[in-house]
């Protein structure tokens, strides 16, 4: 009579894993799309400053970075322990900033050039002297929109 055979009793059935690759691929695409590769290797140590009234840098292609901080341990014998400027992948001086900005501007689309933003990523203990020098150089290079990079501060009030 039994038309439907009872499936084998005992012994667990293996879960069908055929859709596992699909799930993993979905995750993979999500990360591929949302990822931004680290553009430069930092050669200076930066502990970011903290603030509360932050604005997000929306369009990455408009932003040029200037890093300021004490050189990494590996570079200290060569560059000392005073805060230094890093542009792209190398150490630089204040005098290099103008040509760096000009170059970065040339690489941008013409319609975006006026909207260029320079983000200054400086270590929180870095003295203002070097930052002021950078600001003066940026004024000379006519890059007037700047952004003092900082992280969100844990709310204290």
């Amino acid at each position: 009579m039994a038309k439907f055979k009872k499936s084998r009793r005992g012994g667990q059935q293996a879960i069908n894993t055929a859709s596992l690759p699909d799930i993993v691929f979905m995750l993979l695409f999500f990360f591929m799309v949302s990822t931004t590769m680290k553009e430069v290797d930092l050669k200076v140590m930066i502990k970011p400053a903290q603030a509360t009234e932050l604005v997000k840098l929306e369009r990455k292609e408009l932003v040029t970075f200037i890093y300021v901080g004490i050189p990494n341990k590996a570079f200290q014998s060569l560059y000392g322990t005073e805060p230094r400027i890093q542009l792209n992948d190398q150490f630089a001086t204040v005098d290099d900033i103008q040509s760096y900005i000009a170059q970065a501007r040339d690489n941008m689309r013409e319609s975006d050039q006026a909207k260029m933003i320079v983000s200054i990523k400086a270590d929180r203990e870095c003295p203002m002297g070097i930052i002021t020098d950078i600001k003066q150089a940026l004024r000379k290079a006519a890059a007037l929109k700047i952004n003092y990079s900082a992280n969100q501060k844990a709310d204290s009030n």
Partner: protein, 191 residues
């Protein structure tokens, strides 16, 4: 010859490959978006240009920051926590005091004629000032302006400042323009 049955490709290792790629992207990814305080630098002044007319003292809110990260506001030492309220009082001048800034009337779209403070915040730091301290001062001043704009937006439009549309935001910004002037830094701390 008997036709052999088409063998299925074994897709079992597909998951492993995908996992490998996934882990690679997980490691290299930086999700953090960059944030910071946006500022505009003043354009460089040509040398032959005459100096700008002096600003009346009552219209200037002088903030000095020395190499020990100590604040001097309008000639008095001050803690950073009090700076925001002092700046707000300066900009708003609620009791129209004589030693606080004057007002001028300007035409603002959407709002008509509005009294706008002539006050300017002047910030001067030392070459030895710590970046964090300087940023905190900038942050507090920005907060003063943001709170004023927020209060104004609530009063006039009944909405939060961030919910206003573009024209309304522009109007509020005209009423409370962020006027922070940065003087050339001094080098007293000797660093």
């Amino acid at each position: 010859m008997a036709k052999r049955e088409l063998q299925e490709v074994n897709a079992g290792s597909m998951a492993d490959i995908a996992f490998l790629l996934l882990i690679f992207f997980l490691m290299t990814t930086t999700m953090d978006s960059d944030t910071g305080l946006a500022r505009t630098l003043p354009p460089i002044v040509p040398e032959d240009e005459p100096p700008p007319p002096p600003i009346k003292e009552r219209n200037v809110f002088a903030v000095l920051l020395n190499s020990q990260n100590q604040l001097l506001v309008e000639g008095e030492p001050m803690d950073i926590s009090e700076l925001k309220d002092a700046a707000k009082e300066f900009i708003e001048n609620p009791e129209r005091k004589d030693n606080l800034p004057e007002f001028k009337e300007i035409e603002v779209p959407l709002l008509g004629t509005v009294e706008v403070s002539k006050g300017v915040i002047s910030l001067q730091s030392d070459r030895g000032t710590e970046y964090q301290a300087y940023l905190m001062v900038q942050n507090e001043l920005a907060r003063a302006y943001n709170e004023l704009r927020q209060e104004f937006a609530r009063k006039k439009f009944g909405k939060d400042y961030k919910d206003l549309d573009e024209d309304e935001m522009k109007a509020v910004r005209m009423v409370y323009p962020q006027k922070i002037s940065e003087a050339e830094p001094k080098n007293v701390g000797g660093k």
